[in-house]
Assembly symmetry: C2
């Protein structure tokens, strides 16, 4: 798994803290310690999923669409990292009854496990994170 998810959460949290302001990728990059181009790629997917809005050009930047208490982590996880929990299986031997079927079976099992995982993340909002930050 790459770190797109945690970077995305960082971005959204950052934007939530600066609600009603427009923030540049350069600015966010300062906080996350990640190259602005990479951030823009991640922010771009968040935009396509209507989590944030971007504005090009001078005085442009990014801003949150919804209040932090409405943004749950499962959504961000789905956008950035869906399916990454499902393990890669080596392409096992087609002539072996175990190898032949195991991959499909494991994928199914992991799908279910991932749902339990996401279900927990659904209960955590960006506001929860901000509250935790404020209390620490």
């Amino acid at each position: 798994m790459n770190s797109d998810f945690s970077i995305a959460v960082h971005c959204v949290t950052y934007l939530a803290k600066k609600q009603n302001q427009r923030v540049t990728s350069e600015d966010i990059a300062q906080s996350v310690s990640v190259h602005p181009v990479r951030l823009r790629k991640i922010l771009s997917t968040l935009r396509k999923e209507n989590i944030i809005t971007s504005k090009e050009g001078a005085k442009g930047g990014f801003s949150l669409n919804d209040p932090p208490e409405h943004i749950t982590l499962d959504k961000i996880f789905k956008i950035t990292s869906e399916e990454t929990l499902v393990p890669k299986c080596p392409d096992s031997n087609e002539n072996c009854p175990i190898g032949k079927n195991l991959s499909d079976i494991l994928i199914r099992i992991f799908h279910n496990a991932e749902e339990h995982f996401l279900n927990y993340l659904k209960g955590v909002t960006i506001k929860d994170i901000i509250d935790e930050i404020n209390n620490s």
Copy 2:
């Protein structure tokens, strides 16, 4: 995440199918399509956790310790892949209140999410997998 977990499940399932026989890493490698040395490394960790027994030397090999219905996937996952769900966070800016705290908070959240994930895997045994293979 690497594919150690799915390889380990494959190995254990294979050994379960050949209960009371001793199987070589070469033999398992045929089914999994993975290099025997890599298998032995993974099998070695399973041995240390008492999932399987190995015997060196001629006529040596690997065998299962317990009946398949007693082996749950969460155990195998813990052995091979514990903590791999917790996202890597870039070392973010210490001078930024968000960056400073977010990493710890995310790690905590993911710990909890992983528990839900494992809890589901705890309900799946190697016997379940064998049954699925037999029915397909």
